[in-house]
Symmetry: C2
Subunit: 172 residues, 2 copies
Amino acid sequence: MGLFSKDIETFEDLFLHQLQDVYYAENQITKALPKMIDKATDPALKAGFETHLRETEGQIERLEQVFSMIGEQAKGATCPAIEGIIKEANEVAGDIADKAVLDAALIASAQAVEHYEITRYGTLIAWAKQLGRSDCIDLLQATLDEEYATDDKLTSMATSKDNARAAAAEPA
Amino acid sequence: MGLFSKDIETFEDLFLHQLQDVYYAENQITKALPKMIDKATDPALKAGFETHLRETEGQIERLEQVFSMIGEQAKGATCPAIEGIIKEANEVAGDIADKAVLDAALIASAQAVEHYEITRYGTLIAWAKQLGRSDCIDLLQATLDEEYATDDKLTSMATSKDNARAAAAEPA
């Protein structure tokens, strides 16, 4: 288990807790993505999720490097936020029979995950700067850049053929 | 209760479910913000949360107008994502004694809430376009613009005096 929130006293503790939160979240995402790959019907979306799964594995390694830089062991702290986001993704996608509507729902769920990561890495970078841990920033920024790029790709998919297809679909 | 996820068959159903999800989320946010106002110690942060509470009430009214435009009654659908984000915010802020560290944690939590709203309104706008519901877009876009502005203000706070204060604070 990571740092309990009751143990947060200093700004360094807060940074460590956030790092553990994101580490837990990234690990949950690697478990959620294979299910999203299975469900996605559009080959481009499926391929996009596969790419993001490999990226997420690299992001976990970067977090492990940051833990090492600050002299801490890599540990996760349970993150109710990502659990809620993934639970909602599963609930919504769970029973959609229409393939195009299902793909649209999966894209929206993936964007909710991306935005959670964007906000948390943005926070970690701001805090690392203020703690004078510029050595950690490049690693965190590399991941943040990937998250923005993934979100942009998902936005392109959400506004293009997949959803036009879903909007044109006959009711089941 | 709003539309159950098992009732999602068409793209219109998906749009309605997402609208109900965001409506539930905004209402949960109006309950969470007064607690964040109470906890915040920096007067600028407290004032920022108060402004956002009033904005959120306006955003709920806009959602009610969108429900009306599509001929539906305004209803919420339980949103595990916002519940998780708020639960995490309460857990982290719950026991921090140092005022500056607490404010930094509150800013980060508020940004997680903003990013959830940003992704959901972005999705609703993309879907409204594809459903040919351009009448709904202006209302949704007005709220999305407010969410981005609030997130920008929070980023300014996260990278300025509050956190510098927290980073300089003595361990408790």
